[in-house]
Each structure stands twice: as C-alpha cells, then as structure tokens.
Amino acid sequence: MNGWILAATAVLGAGVGATVWGVATGPLRRRVVAQNLSTALACPALLLLAQGYDRPAYVDLALVLALLGPVGTLVFARLLAGELAGDPPRARALTRSAAGLGAGVVLALCVAVGPSRALLKLLVVGVLLVGGNLLASRALSGGMAGARRG
C-alpha cells in the first residue's frame, strides 16, 4: 500500500461515502448535487488508483468518467428541469471544493509523471473533469431553465 492508494481510499471513504449518503436521503435538490459530486470525486480517486497501482492504462477509466459523468448529470438536469425549477439546488461551495480537489489531484499526478504523453492525457482529464462538473452543477441550479421539453 502506497500513499497514492491511501489517498484514494480517503477520497472514496470520506468523499464518495458522503455522496452516497447524500443521494440516498433528503430532498431532490440535494440528491442531484450528490450525484454530480459522486462523479467529481470518483474521477480523482480513479486517477490516484491508476498511479498507485502503477498502471497508466487505468487512466482511460478516469477519462471516460470525466467525459460521461457530467453528461449523466446533464441528463438529470434536463429531464428533471421541471421538478428542480421551483427549488433549485445551491451547492457552490461543495462543487468548488470538489473541483479544487480534482484539480489538485491532477496537478500532483502531473508532477509525479513528469513531462510525457501521459501528462497530456492527465491534463485533458483534468480539464474535462473540472469544467464538466462546474458546468453540470450550474446547469442543475437553473442554467438550463430555458430548456423545455423537446
């Protein structure tokens, strides 16, 4: 067990664990935020695991999650727009800290791998992760208010 895996365990246990609790209880607005945060936190955990296991190939997992996770949240934002309109979720601080964590993890890994092709992939993952989750969070809190059925 190395430090990377330990960090991943911490992110999973504390972060993702909290989002599981969040998505299972409470009002709808809290649940959608928790769903968004779960991908925002699982993705850095996957990156940490890839590094911890010394398997660059596992980064593909984080890439796919960084791509599709926000898309999943957008699905909820789009199809639950009606339910969320009256009671929009507000979780700016949480989202930002999750994004910050993601960015921090990506930076730490970039330092660890050094300049290479893997670095490029990591940066792409980082951009998609942080950008996607911030955007998805915004869409949840009414950014898609204009969107109607169609």
Partner: protein, 119 residues
C-alpha cells in the same frame, strides 16, 4: 488479514442479491422494480470478480506491464462479467420498454393495480 475480509466480498454479493430480490418482491412501482432487478444483477458482477481476484495481482492487460513481471488476476471472470454487463443493460432496456407499454395500456405502473391476469 483476519478471516472476515476473506469472505466479505462474497457476503456483499449475497447481500446485494437478496436486497434486490426483496425490493423486487415488495415494489409498488414497476420502474422501481426494474431498478431492483439491475441491483440483483450487480450482485453477479461482484461475485464473479471477487472469485477471480488474486492478492497483490494486477489486471491481465499487458499494454503497460511486461508479461510475467507481476501476478495477474483471472481474466476469464472479467470476460464473463463483461458479457453480463451487456446482458444487464439490454434486459433493463427491454423491461423498460414493456413498462412503457404497461403504463399506456393499463394507465398504471403499480403492480397492485394490474388485475387482468389471474386465476
């Protein structure tokens, strides 16, 4: 490690399967029932992959690892689980299609209110 974690993965699979079956039996909404069925299926993935795990081993994918340098886990169960995931997704889709039609023709998705076929 103590003995508990050595059966924990199997027990989790059993728990998930039974929980899904319980939800399926007591569901009041067919869409929820389909979700429970996919929970049951998740148990099969967990069991399969737990069976194939090997301590300290890594994935049997040699694009970034020299073959023979590290022990690898069982690839066969992974292939089985992969097939299983596909089956699960398609069965879910087919069931949901049927739920859509049930809702249309019966005007409800509560199994308690479906009283056409009995006796």
């Amino acid at each position: 490690m103590t003995a508990v974690p050595h059966v924990l993965p199997y027990l989790v699979a059993v728990w998930v399967f039974l929980a899904g079956a319980y939800g399926l039996a007591t569901s009041r909404n067919l869409i929820h029932a389909v979700g429970c069925l996919s929970v049951c299926q998740a148990a099969t993935y967990v069991l399969l992959l737990a069976v194939g795990y090997r301590d300290g081993a890594t994935a049997p994918v040699f694009s970034d690892v020299e073959p023979g340098t590290r022990p690898v886990v069982d690839p066969v169960v992974q292939a089985l689980a992969l097939t299983d995931v596909v089956v699960g997704a398609t069965v879910t889709a087919l069931l949901l299609a049927l739920v859509v039609q049930v809702a249309k023709r019966h005007g409800t998705v509560d199994p308690d209110e479906l009283t056409e076929l009995r006796g």
